[in-house]
């Protein structure tokens, strides 16, 4: 009896060892890892899916020779629905497609411009078990999906990693675009009184260089991609584009500016320029109801670093110049916000700043009536922008190099 029990136990343990994952077992060798995906609408109304699937044998490990082969396989399918297009990959890919490593999702302009276009893509990604909710979204501007998917980055072998890196760098170093994660975008889509924005990916045509006769170059990198500005939405429908400075104007109000350069002219000599690097920032939307009408006050505070100058004056000269520079800094920022406000109120007619949300948080009772008319209220909304810029440091030098 004892021995029989022991044998049984050993059998069960061994059985467990070899049957891990039950029916769901997929060997890593049988998986095709998606590194980049893009969705668009075809001319005949189907959903088009374009993915890059990593080629493991073409990714060189440490210490090995660089393999002269592109390390991904671009493949395109179509389907009536998003998931059908995704599953149609199975008829082309010899390996089971695995989505968890897809970090960037590109949305074609045609799909983004139709109502309920992006929502169906988002639904697939929010629902599926393999996909991650922290995948970043980008909308394609002025290019077809094929063109943007064929973009190559000189610094990254996988374009997916290129877009991911680019998103991070643009957000943290330049703050001229916002590349929300799936969660952030969906959250904003459903929130009352704020309309989403999405970073815009553009094609850059680099001048075709003379191909070097090297084994490393079998093709010439001609197309590359950049992130420039943002697409402005109403619901999930793309309305138009914001350029870099308008985008930063929106981000100032939203409090999402992390860094960047503001160029102002030198108070002492108008045709010389000074560059300020944005440091710590904070912003607050203060709604007020005056006679039942909402009035918005935006207060932006920031620290700047005196980063570069063309001027010759000694930096610690006088307080007046200093104050003048600070007010110029404030004006430059106010202009960015104002240009964003103008385009949002006059052209796009979409509350991408989240003023409605601020009103809701402060006056929830009044908002219940206002929310039905918010689109109209927003068009003529009185927005006062107040910027308080402080120049706190001047980096490692007090004065410029003198030319005799």
């Amino acid at each position: 009896m004892r021995i029989r029990a022991k044998v049984l136990l050993i059998c069960i343990i061994l059985g467990c060892l070899f049957s891990s994952g039950c029916w769901d077992r997929v060997e890593i060798e049988d998986m095709g890892l998606v590194t980049l995906a893009g969705f668009d609408r075809t001319e005949d109304g189907l959903i088009k899916l374009s993915v890059h699937i990593a080629k493991p044998f073409a990714i060189s490990g440490a210490g090995q020779d660089i393999i002269d082969e592109k390390p991904f396989w671009p493949v395109t399918t179509t389907g009536h629905t998003v998931f059908q297009a995704v599953r149609n990959l199975a008829s082309e890919s010899p390996r089971q497609v695995f989505w968890a490593h897809c970090r960037v999702l590109l949305i074609g302009e045609r799909l983004a411009r139709e109502a309920n276009g992006i929502a169906q893509v988002l639904d697939f990604f929010m629902r599926d078990l393999e996909t991650r909710n922290n995948v970043r979204l980008l909308v394609v501007k002025g290019a077809s999906l094929e063109e943007i998917m064929s973009a190559r980055f000189e610094l990254e072998r996988q374009p997916g990693r290129g877009f991911e890196g680019l998103s991070k760098v643009v957000e943290t170093r330049k703050s001229t675009s916002l590349i929300p994660t799936l969660l952030e975008f969906c959250r904003e889509l459903e929130t009352d009184g704020i309309e989403p924005v999405l970073g815009a990916a553009e094609i850059v045509n680099r001048p075709t260089e003379q191909p070097e006769q090297s084994i490393l170059h079998d093709t010439v990198v001609s197309n590359s991609a950049q992130i420039s500005g943002m697409g402005a939405f109403k619901g999930d429908r793309l309305l138009g584009w914001l350029n870099d400075s308008q985008s930063r104007g929106v981000l100032w109000v939203r409090g999402k500016v992390e860094s960047g350069i503001i160029v102002i002219s030198d108070p002492l000599e108008e045709n010389r320029l000074i560059s300020m690097e944005i440091g710590q920032t904070s912003s607050k939307i203060i709604p007020q109801l005056i006679d039942g009408r909402p009035v918005i006050k935006v207060r932006i505070e920031l620290d700047a670093v005196f980063a570069q100058t063309e001027g010759q004056f000694p930096l610690l000269s006088d307080e007046e110049t200093w104050a003048s520079m600070e007010s110029r800094l404030a004006t430059a920022i106010r202009n960015e916000v104002q240009s964003a406000l103008n385009i949002a109120q006059e052209e796009l007619e979409s509350d991408i700043f989240g003023f409605g949300r601020a009103v809701y948080i402060k006056y929830p009772r009044e908002w219940q009536v206002m929310k039905d008319y918010w689109d109209e209220i927003f068009l003529t909304l009185d927005v006062q922008v107040e910027v308080l810029g402080k120049i706190k440091r001047s980096s490692l030098a007090f004065r410029m190099v003198k030319t005799r």
Binding site: G21, W23, N133, E190
Partner: protein, 373 residues
């Protein structure tokens, strides 16, 4: 009355079992969440529902402490006579059993949706039921020990998930504290929170096996307090991370864990939540399975409860599969019918038992008087 079971549980294990049982609906599917309109006003439901549970649990424990050497089945039979006792006793057992197979089915559906999509659900249900039946057959000590061991780990994992989503939280989603449709918004979610506390009827089965039955009251109240804290923390984190998407996810705790991404290396910690799933739901299912099994043996005056284990286990799988068509069906039942049913059920059972205990006392008091007179 024969207790049948020789096992003893410590106060801490009792506490662990109670906390764990109430946490299971939070970590698997969280029906309360789907009833909430405004995520910013979700957390008061947890407080209201839990506070309403305090008198309920007080009544359950108070009744149990009147007969500290008997299980709820034992004193039901004594208080309500052979026929009434049999009737109410079997209702109580059905309630336990219903919780056991619902939890098993929920766990099965959860694993089938969130972990092993291709594996037939029966494979999981049968192996889990076999394990649970075996564990319960050996007495409740094993299960209680595991519960005592796992509860710190489970709470730690839940809090870890909550803390590591801090970079996704947007505190503005916690405001405004405003009810667009009046305070009536609080009724259903609070009732849903309360409905899961009715499961604490199982305390009636546990009291006689406690080392020190007198400690049951402070321990139960302590368990409610602990749960309030965990529920609120979890609820606020959910609201801040998901905002309006608050009530859109099937498995909120799992969804929250899937969000975690700290510095590109601390991510994909949802496997922690699957550990919590399997241990949490497994222990809870085992507790209620054990209660059904021992209760049934006591109700029918059997000499041993062990032969019941495998048949009841098989029954648990079968009824678990047959009683709900799908996860959506289960969710539907848990958010509507089950709330009304479980709250009215517990009130009926408790009033029947209290009426019985009062009349029995009068009867007992009355007999000597009658003799004297």
């Amino acid at each position: 009355m024969n207790l049948l079971e020789r096992g003893q549980i410590s106060g801490y294990q009792f506490f662990a079992l109670l906390v764990l049982s109430r946490l299971v609906p939070v970590i698997l599917i969280c029906p309360t969440v789907t009833l909430v309109n405004n995520p910013a006003t979700a957390w008061p439901n947890d407080i209201i529902g839990s506070l309403l549970a305090v008198p309920l649990v007080w009544l359950i424990v108070h009744l149990g402490l009147k007969y500290p050497d008997q299980t709820i089945i034992g004193y039901t039979k004594k208080l309500l006579g052979p026929i009434g006792g049999m009737l109410v006793g079997s209702l109580i057992l059905w309630f336990y059993f219903m919780i056991a197979f619902s939890v098993l089915r929920t766990l099965g559906e959860t694993v089938a949706t969130g972990l092993l999509e291709e594996t037939p659900i029966l494979v999981f249900l049968v192996s889990a039921a076999f394990l649970i039946a075996n564990s319960a057959r050996g007495g409740m000590e094993h299960n209680s020990r595991i519960a005592g061991m796992m509860i710190p780990l489970i709470i730690f994992f839940l809090l870890l998930v909550v803390v590591s989503t801090y970079n996704l939280m947007d505190p503005s989603y916690l405001r405004p504290f405003f009810f667009a449709e009046g305070l009536g918004e609080l009724i259903w979610p609070s009732a849903s929170v309360l409905s899961f506390y009715t499961e604490y009827l199982v305390i009636g089965m546990l009291i006689p096996y406690l080392n020190n039955p007198r400690s049951a009251m402070p321990l139960s109240m302590g368990a409610i307090l602990t749960i309030i804290v965990i529920l609120i923390t979890h609820c606020i984190a959910m609201a801040a991370v998901f905002g309006p998407l608050f009530n859109s996810t099937t498995f909120p705790a799992f969804a929250l864990a899937r969000m975690v991404s700290l510095g590109d290396f601390f991510e994909r910690i949802e496997s922690l939540i699957t550990i919590v799933w399997i241990f949490g739901a497994g222990i809870k299912c085992c507790l209620f399975f054990w209660a059904t099994m021992v209760g049934l043996a006591q109700l029918l005056d059997l000499k041993d409860f062990r032969p019941l284990a495998y048949p009841l286990g098989a029954l648990m799988v079968a009824i678990g599969v047959l009683s709900y068509e799908s996860l959506i069906d289960l969710m539907d039942i848990l958010t509507e019918a089950m709330i009304v049913f479980s709250i009215s059920f517990i009130i009926l059972i408790l009033s029947a038992l209290y009426i019985g205990s009062v009349s029995k006392k009068n009867l007992r008091d009355g007999i000597p008087n009658a003799d004297q007179g």
